[in-house]
């Protein structure tokens, strides 16, 4: 039996019981990578090999040796009768934005092309300590800036396993693709405006953004320090819960990490949705889109399948005993992207200041007359367009003469976005929600190159997800069907602070109730030619 068809829970359980060897699990998954992934992303922009058009290209670096050492360790522990960890033998990919000692950590950027961090991110440490096999570093938008993973300096960028002409979404595109393509069971991604949930939706997998501070940011190369959340991608809610259990908890190396106690997420899944109050909001059935010349905002419809998927999901949950609460007002949702444009860029510009060619990474090879020129040439050559765009925007809106109008204002608008959720979830308020159900994205996966040049359009792919980052609350995207083109549709549950247990419960209940749905039996395109039997 090929373990690529097992869930992470099943792998861990069998490995712990001695029924399955971690080394065999590793080989199964390395073979799958060999079969479906094609060339890893690299800096040498070779012409895209037409023979690899149907490949996934999720990885930048496969760390087979490291994974083998870990598998051996797991087996040794099992043999000695010692606890090998709750993720024993489970193959995991890591978004190449996490520093992992012994690997190159590139952030998908030339400016870190050779950076070998002398330390490992807490999130990755915890996974390794739990017995997971780190299979490799997966590709992403450069510095996580983007919603399609196309902007990586390491090409080819990942393709959507459901249709390799289309994008994976981003920035955790490699994470979502590697899970969807069964190259790994789980992936560690990050979500700043929707970067876990949107690619999860595009690739038909589960993606969870935890509460801000629930998972440690130590070792995560920062984009928006007040928005970034490391989180799991998996093929079902229970696997996501299993991974979250390992990641969650206070880290003394991260001052913003939360002291809130960590519940038993797996146990919580079993409690069902009877009596859960799940809200729907008209403010999430469309997007408010700006005219890029005049700034005038107008309502635009989203792909109709998105709204019907939400309605269908609500009906399923209602049949399971949940109470559906209609028309929950979320009036500040429309301000999510504008506020994000400001806040995330200000933080990004500041976070990118340290990349200057002095201490690590890329330094320009051209001869320079002085230090200022060294800075400029290094950053010009080392950064792609997306980092440059974010730096310039960030500097403009935080400049002394503009800060009040843009940055300070956006921070206050952020409070308003937060208060929408506080009111909706207030246990003594008018709605008393346990979860809010919305579409994850306005559209399914778009075609490669279709959106990349338009930075505003690209950002609006996150309009449904970004409010969760502003508010700091947890949110999970789960597959809820396929559109007429056979592309995955995602729906999203928002929850209140540290109530990942509730949204995972709703996700799990929906999954269980729809496990025989026809669309769940469809194999992604990239896996069809080489269908490995279970």
């Amino acid at each position: 039996m090929n373990s690529i068809h097992l869930s992470a829970r099943q792998i861990a359980q069998k490995v712990r019981a001695g029924e399955l060897s971690a080394l065999d699990v590793l080989e199964d998954h390395l073979r799958q990578i060999q079969t479906v992934d094609g060339a890893p992303g690299s800096l040498r922009h070779e012409r895209l090999n037409p023979a690899e058009e149907d490949k996934v290209h999720a990885f930048i670096e496969v760390t087979a040796q490291r994974a083998r050492r870990q598998a051996e360790q797991v087996q040794a522990l099992v043999q000695r009768g010692e606890d090998p960890g709750s993720l024993a033998g489970v193959p995991v990919s890591v978004k190449d934005i996490f520093c992992v000692e012994g690997t190159t950590t590139t952030a998908a950027s030339r400016i870190l092309y050779n950076f070998r961090p002398p330390y490992t991110a807490t999130a990755v440490e915890r996974l390794e300590k739990a017995g997971a096999l780190i299979i490799g570093k997966v590709n992403l938008d450069e510095f996580t800036y983007g919603s399609s993973s196309e902007s990586s300096a390491f090409q080819p960028h990942p393709n959507n396993p459901w249709n390799t002409q289309r994008v994976t979404g981003g920035s955790s595109g490699g994470s979502a693709a590697s899970v969807a393509a069964r190259e790994v069971s789980l992936s560690l991604g990050t979500d700043t405006g929707g970067s876990i949930r949107q690619p999860a939706a595009f690739c038909g997998v589960v993606g969870l953004k935890p509460t801000y501070g629930r998972t440690s940011r130590y070792g995560l190369i920062a984009f928006g320090s007040s928005l970034d959340c490391p989180g799991p991608l998996a093929r079902d809610a229970a696997d996501a819960a299993l991974m979250l259990q390992v990641l969650a908890g206070m880290d003394p190396k991260d001052s913003t990490s939360a002291l809130a106690p960590v519940p038993d997420y797996l146990a919580a899944l079993q409690e069902g949705v009877r009596g859960m109050r799940i809200g729907l909001s008209r403010d999430y059935d469309h997007i408010t889109y700006p005219d890029t010349l005049t700034g005038e905002m107008s309502i635009q419809a989203i792909q109709p399948e998105m709204n019907s998927a939400v309605r269908d999901a609500a009906e399923v949950l209602a049949r399971l005993g949940a109470e559906i609460v209609e028309d929950v007002p979320m009036p500040n949702a429309r301000h999510g992207i504008p506020a994000y444009f400001v806040i995330s860029r200000v933080e990004a510009a500041s976070n990118l200041h340290r990349f200057d060619g002095v201490k690590y990474g890329y330094r320009t090879g051209t001869s320079v007359r002085g230090l200022s020129e060294l800075y400029r040439a290094t950053r010009a050559e080392g950064f792609g367009l997306q980092p440059k765009l974010r730096i310039l925007m960030g500097m403009y809106v935080s400049a002394a003469q503009h800060s009040a109008q843009y940055y300070q204002k956006a921070l206050r608008v952020r409070s308003m976005i937060r208060s929408d959720f506080e009111q909706a979830f207030d246990p003594r308020g008018a709605y008393q929600l346990d979860a809010l159900l919305t579409p994850t994205t306005p559209t399914t996966a778009f075609l490669r190159k279709a959106v990349l040049g338009d930075s505003v359009l690209m950002q609006y792919s996150d309009q449904m997800t970004v409010a969760g980052n502003h508010a700091g609350i947890p949110a999970v995207s789960i597959p809820a069907g396929l559109d007429p083109l056979g592309l995955p549709i995602g729906v999203q549950f928002f929850g209140m602070d540290f109530r990942e247990d509730l949204i995972l419960r709703a996700a799990h209940a929906y999954e269980q109730a729809t496990q025989n749905a026809e669309w769940r039996g469809v194999t992604p395109q990239a896996l069809r030619g080489s269908e490995v039997s279970a």
């Binding site: 700034g295 002095v358 200022s372 800075y375 403009y396 952020r414």
Partner: protein, 105 residues
């Protein structure tokens, strides 16, 4: 049509402040995108805020760990850090000095 908020002059100054340098093509593309983004952001200024709305720094009220106790714990391998330097000498990170005309200390 509104005039661009970010004119080529303002753009050039931003590029300099950001310690970047761009080709003319990059400049035009980025300047266009910046102005589009600013247009998208304009609606923020139209939002009326109620009295006393405070800036939110993390969304939720972050209640993280207390400051750490004052103890010296040396990092086990500082040489690994210096090893990452593109250029070093005698234990120092090495860079060219500012040239005449560049901003100096």
């Amino acid at each position: 049509m509104k005039p661009d908020s970010i004119t080529p002059e303002i753009f050039a100054r931003l590029v300099s402040l950001a310690a970047l340098e761009l080709t003319p093509e990059e400049s035009e593309y980025l300047r266009t995108e910046l102005n589009h983004q600013l247009a998208a952001v304009q609606e923020l200024s139209e939002i009326q805020l109620a009295e006393g709305v405070q800036p939110s720094l993390h969304g939720l009220e972050c209640q993280g760990s207390a400051p750490r106790p004052d103890a010296w714990i040396p990092f086990p391998n500082p040489t690994e850090i210096l090893k990452q330097a593109p250029d070093s000498e005698g234990g120092y990170f090495r860079v060219p000095d500012f040239s005449r005309g560049e901003v100096s200390e």
